[in-house]
């Protein structure tokens, strides 16, 4: 089987088989990233453009490293240094990049649906690296890869996603992917941060962290977007930390051996206690390392001739 898609915009339309293919492909690249010479010639002569309209270090660096390890040429475009500040539209920017014969465009944008709009307007393959509150498919795929690497199987797996689910593209992509693979997904946070109708995506809503953690094998923490404070989503950071912060005590509520994940950057002492972030159950740095292998796999699969 192969991935018969021009773009990777969202995990919602992907089949379980397609998701598994991506994870298995990433296995091969995990081996490559463990070599002394971490480079293969698979994307020689191809051009990958990172088009990032939102600040991001981790995701952009990860894509850049992934493309370079596949021997592709990489260009980074960010709005501050481009003509976007001069009023050029997204599509015009992208068409200019395409005219330079970019094969793959990796897009990060603050508006949901930006990647979809772009994909319709250009012939290059488009990979969504986060669009507003919509989706962040490559993050969810690397989360899945990290879970699988720990020897956990998805069928019947109990996962708690903790935090501001409403505003989290990471949560949405993970809910789509995990439920497709047969996992039981619980979302937990203050009622202001749990969207209405989340059950329609196949996730179960909880408002008490201790209840939600009971018996889970995976605890997925979301970053508390401190910039949202003052929008009446939660009264104070201290109260949020007390009710929804993951402490060593709370980890004990989960199944023994449960893993703790976080997409980063972490707010130590807010959503996650420092001793939990640095504990053996934390796989946060594995997620970062796996990100490169998973993105290499995605770039490889998307690199078929157009």
């Amino acid at each position: 089987m192969s991935l018969k898609r021009k773009d990777l915009l969202s995990l919602a339309p992907l089949s379980a088989e397609e998701i598994k293919l991506i994870l298995e492909t990433a296995d091969s690249f995990k081996e490559v990233t463990g070599r002394e010479i971490k480079k293969v010639p698979a994307l020689r002569g191809r051009t990958v453009v990172n088009l990032f309209f939102e600040p991001s270090t981790r995701t952009r660096t990860s894509f850049e490293l992934a493309a370079k390890r596949l021997s592709a040429d990489v260009i980074n475009f960010s709005p501050s240094s481009s003509s976007v500040v001069k009023g050029e539209t997204l599509l015009d920017t992208a068409r200019n990049i395409e005219a330079m014969q970019a094969d793959i465009i990796v897009l990060r944008h603050s508006s949901a649906g930006a990647a979809e709009t772009l994909a319709r307007g250009v012939k290059s393959s488009v990979i969504n690296a986060g669009d507003g509150w919509h989706e962040h498919p490559t993050q969810a795929l690397l989360d899945l890869y990290t879970i699988r690497e720990r020897g956990l199987s998805f069928q019947g797996l109990r996962v708690a996603i903790v935090g501001d689910v409403s505003h989290s593209r990471v949560a949405r992509s993970n809910i789509h992917a995990l439920t497709k693979l047969g996992a039981e997904v619980r979302v937990v946070g203050p009622p202001t941060m749990i969207p209405m109708g989340i059950d329609k995506l196949g996730a179960k809503a909880f408002y008490n962290l201790d209840d939600a953690l009971r018996g889970v094998q995976v605890i997925m923490m979301l970053r508390l977007q401190l910039e949202r404070q003052g929008r009446a989503l939660f009264p104070t950071i201290r109260e949020y930390a007390r009710l929804y912060g993951l402490t060593a005590e709370r980890v004990k509520m989960a199944e023994p051996g449960a893993i703790v994940m976080h997409p980063g950057p972490i707010n130590r002492g807010v959503e996650i206690a420092p001793e939990v972030a640095d504990s053996l159950s934390s796989v946060i740095l594995d997620q970062v390392a796996n990100g490169v292998a998973v993105r290499m796999g995605i770039l490889y699969l998307m690199s078929g001739a157009n």
């Binding site: 091969s28 490559v32 002394e36 293969v40 698979a42 078929g304 001739a305």
Partner: protein, 197 residues
């Protein structure tokens, strides 16, 4: 598919086959190659075998067992997937499925015998040598194949050959192996053009 069967056979999927090596021929070829490897390299010192996925991996395991029978030593073995080194990746619409490379020993300074089932255009071997050299710097690379069918497109030559089988370009030669759920045999399939390798 409407061609007249060349070799009468009970199983319908064998109707288009022409048998060129039987199980016994293959066993004897493997035993001879094992001896040749040992003779050429004066034993097993610094020797390592690397099979090219998928057929070559099975054959490499067989050679390791033969060598162990003769010398009483298990030589290290690795498995190589050459997909990422293919020269036609930028031409394909969909990328081929990757399988894992696993070479669990240091190949630097070793004599590496690459093992494949069929030697055809030589492009697979070119890719395999590039893939191997990314893992280290072998002292020497040798090549063992079950069948050399000719039609080389690159200046590549096998060190050890099970059997030379002259073919026409549009024939498809296949090494069927027990490990892949078949009866051991080498056949020419009629009317099915083989992917160039």
């Amino acid at each position: 598919m409407s061609e007249i069967p060349i070799k009468a056979s009970m199983t319908p999927n064998r109707q288009q086959e022409r048998l060129v090596m039987e199980a016994g021929d293959m066993t004897r070829a493997m035993t001879r190659i094992a001896h040749e490897i040992l003779e050429r390299n004066k034993g097993v010192k610094d020797l390592g075998l690397v099979g090219i996925r998928t057929g070559g991996v099975h054959l490499a395991h067989r050679l390791v067992r033969r060598i162990q029978d003769i010398e009483g030593v298990a030589v290290p073995i690795g498995e190589l997937d050459i997909t990422l080194y293919r020269d036609d990746l930028s031409l394909r619409k969909e990328q081929p499925v990757l399988r894992k490379t696993s070479v669990p020993f240091d190949i630097s300074g070793k004599i590496i015998v690459l093992v494949d089932d069929v030697l055809f255009t030589g492009r697979t071997i070119r890719a395999a040598m590039d893939g191997l050299i990314d893992l280290g710097r072998p002292a020497e690379i040798q090549l063992a194949v079950m069948v050399d069918r000719g039609h080389r497109q690159l200046p590549i030559k096998a060190t050890y050959i099970g059997k030379n089988i002259p073919t026409s370009r549009d024939e498809n030669i296949q090494v069927m192996l027990e490990e892949a759920g078949e009866d051991d045999r080498v056949v020419i399939l009629k009317g099915v053009k083989e992917m160039e390798r």
